[in-house]
Amino acid sequence: MLEALGAGSMDELLVDVPASLRLRRLDLAPGLSELETMARVRELAARNRVFDDRLTFRGGGVYRRFVPAAVGAVLSKPEFYTAYTPYQPEASQGTLQAIFEFQTLIAQLTGLDVANASLYDGATAVAEAAMMAVVHTGRPEVVVAPYLHPEYLEVLRCYAEGRGFQVRIGTDPGNDSAALVFQSPDFLGLIADGSQVTELAHAAGALAIACVDPISLALLAAPGEYGADIAVGEGQQLGLAPSYGGPHVGFIACRQELVRRLPGRLVGEAHDGQGRRGYVLTLTAREQHIRREKATSNICTNHSLCALAASVYLTYMGPDGLRQVADVSYRRAHALADELSQLPEIELLHPDRPFFNEFPVRMKNVLHRLRALEAEGILGGLPVARWYPELEDVAVFCCTELNDPDALAQLVAALRKTV
């Protein structure tokens, strides 16, 4: 190619780069064969300890769940994972239709009118929803109910400081409040009364933003059912591996009136000249590549492949499968809570509050006990004092369909030994 260009060397093509900037070499180790590369990477992976699915009782926003093989099979199709954002709809109908299905699934699950093509994660979904509310109401603060995932709260604060609105913890929105944000189940696993919180928000003229667990929505009242304006959440549980915290997928759904304030991509139905149905990126007048600094958000891509995983998962499960997953998780968590509460020196933190599949437990020497569990191959509950000093000695335990009855018995026996 150099020859065809009539160039003697690469330097002739790089004439615009000032000589003082030219590097002599890139100071990294020489390249490796695939065999050596994989050996090196495997060695790093081996230095991580992975706990058995059945013996993992830790959640806190990331969960071990059964992932049907169909999810991996679809995600490993290069037609999906090596495609770009679907700018040319005629050559991207696979991705576009899959996103349209995702939008519908999330709208169904949350009971709201519309959902977007996905966001980065649950934390940024909360921040984007809060910014929607601030723009929609023109009010300067967002009120956040206690025990929103602490990292979601930190992310919300980081966005708020940049954008210039206030974040306040409480359940008492006033005339300055754009929204009341609440999580249900919250970081401790406890279920909020969505109707009550939504009424509080609406009485103050604020939007109600519900941060929800998508699996729980097979059992628990949907945000749309209790009148919330925006629902957001983390979709990792829908077919994605924990992967040390990412990539996962955020979702956002809202009432129809708010659709033009939604951030990010939206896919809509369209037709060609012959009347054939297809799908396109639509309402792009909200987006950065058209509106630049006037866009609803700076988000450019979504987490399309992760959204695809969620779609395959939900489609595989169907309403009955999802209900069964939620139900088994619920029953096992409640059976475990019951067993744990009967152990000496262990008590449920909120025996009267309803929970879904995570619940807080107070036990003396919690860190010592959790280490003792690890020695037996069990990843116990999540100690939460690092975020909430008032919850010293509290750990939040989680059950999913992967924690079979024998695993529960193993956990109880191991904990009994630590007493």
């Binding site: 190619m1 150099l2 065809a4 780069v17 000032p18 900037l21 070499r25 100071d27 990294l28 490796l32 590369t37 495997r42 992976a45 991580n48 679809v74 090596t82 495609a83 954002t85 050559a91 991207s92 696979g94 991705t95 699950l109 009118d113 934390a123 930190e154 992310v155 604060r157 980081c158 940049g162 954008r163 628990l220 059912e225 591996a241 924990p242 040390y244 915290g245 990412g246 990539p247 659709v259 369209a270 060609d272 000249g273 012959q274 054939r276 639509t282 792009t284 950065q288 630049r292 891509t301 987490h303 992760c306 169907g318 069964q324 088994v328 029953r331 059976a335 809570a337 019951d338 369909e401």
Partner: protein, 490 residues
């Protein structure tokens, strides 16, 4: 070939997959979920069997164009081959099943990988520290601007403007606005490069940063970058590097050496993590040492031979997302860097520049080339030479789709009318580039001889041109169920 929606394939009565029963003693009655907290209506998810599901998604996959299938000349998107070893690495159980809230002592391999990746990215970009947390390029831009904002605030300065060239990616002004900055546009000169005179007139004590990509979106290296950096720094502002075009520079020169203070990098462009049909990507941000105190939490530190997540960073802007970044993408990028090595990465960038210049030369006389070469890793042509036949850049794009290629980026950058932006990447061979150039010529010839035919294309794809205007006027954003069925609570 119309593929039904999964909802349309749904069969009432399909019982769903077999799943285990709870198998535990029934919890006491006081644990029963109160009625007012229960869902009233079953969500109307599709009910389809696994074989039907697999066929549905296989058929959908067949409607997609992808880099694994053929050349993807999409400008500014760096559609290079995604090595399959990257995928195997990310799926290793030691990475895939690691919980982010495990004791750090049990995640040393993951932390070490991130530490090594940070070091490699520092070397490539010429910066002192890197945060791996941002989930995408736009997220990285915003993270960097938040740090610059915090830096000025810490010095007691209120700077409320960000300068953005008229050729910039749309995410630049949008990210600046999301940080509450006023966006001021800087004009490009006739040669396609930033106008130093215009820049000078807009630099003042209100300016927090200039956002720049180099090579710029025209694929041209900003020759006066050292002068630009000096001017920006002289007013106390910071220089921000949009890393969308970093694939042009590895081993050739470094943004940090040019004077950039903050640099975002798209692992899904330069470092071969797959685009996934629109994410997940990863947009790490590198900074010079004076911005280091403001990095998002946590950073990864090596202390006494161990790797730690450092949350004790009083000046940090805080968290920009949950956990530590799109870790699975970090594994893929690190795997690529290991396999390529320093020499390999440098070769990749040289080959990318060579491919772009070669393809550019092949399109001379076919499309307009408004700026003089040489270019870096991409170039912008214009279809305005076809306007007299009533043919637009959009028609050229659709003609290429019809002939088995993805289309270049069109109508961007905004400063070139009828822009056709082409980035071939180092992946493509001379034979591939020749075949593509021949096809562009075929389309351009058709524009002259039979423009009507071109206007009607594509005709052999799953759908023809879709009416996007009608779609936006009355948006249908979901499939609607005819009815929903009631459910009982547990």
């Amino acid at each position: 070939m119309r593929e039904p929606l999964s909802f349309e394939l749904s069969r009432p009565g399909w019982p769903g997959p077999r799943l285990p029963e709870a198998g535990v003693r029934e919890a006491p009655a006081e644990h029963a979920l109160p009625a007012h907290l229960r869902r009233r209506r079953t969500p109307d998810l599709p009910r389809i069997s696994e074989p039907e599901l697999m066929r549905h998604y296989s058929r959908l996959a067949s409607l997609n164009y992808s880099i694994s299938e053929n050349f993807y000349p999409l400008g500014s998107c760096t559609m290079k081959y995604n090595p399959v070893a990257n995928e195997a690495a990310a799926q290793l159980p030691g990475f895939a099943y690691l919980h982010p809230y495990q004791d750090q002592a049990t995640a040393q391999g993951a932390l070490e990988l991130m530490h090594l990746l940070e070091a490699a990215l520092c070397t490539v970009a010429g910066v002192d520290r890197v945060t791996l947390q941002p989930a995408a390029g736009a997220h990285g831009e915003w993270t960097a601007l938040r740090m610059i904002q915090a830096y000025h605030q810490a010095r007691g300065e209120r700077r409320d403007q960000v300068l953005v060239p008229d050729s910039a990616h749309g995410t630049n002004p949008a990210s600046a606005a999301l940080c509450g900055f006023q966006v001021v546009e800087v004009r490009s000169g006739a040669d396609g490069r930033i106008s130093v005179a215009d820049l000078e007139s807009k630099l003042n004590q209100r300016v927090a940063a200039l956002m720049l990509t180099n090579p710029n979106t025209l694929g041209l290296f900003e020759r006066e970058i050292l002068e630009v950096a000096e001017m920006v720094h002289a007013t106390g502002a910071k220089l921000y590097y949009d890393g969308a075009n970093l694939n042009a520079l590895m081993g050739i020169c470094r943004p940090g050496d040019m004077g950039f203070d903050a640099v975002h990098m798209n692992l899904h462009k330069t470092f071969t993590t797959p685009h996934g049909g629109g994410g997940p990507g990863a947009g790490p941000v590198g900074v010079k040492s004076d911005l280091e105190p403001f990095l998002p939490k946590p950073t990864i530190e090596r202390r006494n031979g161990h790797y730690e997540l450092d949350e004790e960073r009083p000046q940090s802007i805080g968290r920009v997302r949950s956990f530590y970044g799109n870790f699975g993408m970090l594994v893929r990028a690190y795997t690529y860097i290991l396999a390529m090595g320093g020499d390999g990465l440098a070769q990749a960038s040289e080959d990318a520049v060579l491919a772009a210049n070669y393809l550019r030369s092949r399109l001379q006389g076919v499309l307009d080339l408004p700026h003089d070469g040489p270019c870096m890793h991409e170039f912008v042509a214009s279809a305005r030479n076809l306007a007299e036949h009533g043919v637009k850049a959009l028609d050229v794009a659709k003609g290429l789709l019809e002939r088995g290629y993805y289309a270049p980026t069109i109508y961007f950058p905004l400063i070139v009318p009828e822009a056709v932006m082409v980035e071939p990447t180092e992946t493509e061979s001379k034979a591939t580039l020749d075949a593509f150039a021949d096809t562009v010529k075929e389309v351009a010839d058709l524009a002259r001889t039979d423009p009507q035919r071109l206007h009607a294309e594509p005709v052999s794809l799953p759908v023809g041109r879709l009416d996007e205007v009608a779609a936006a006027r009355r948006p249908v954003l979901r499939w609607n169920a005819a009815s929903e069925s009631p459910t009982e609570a547990p």
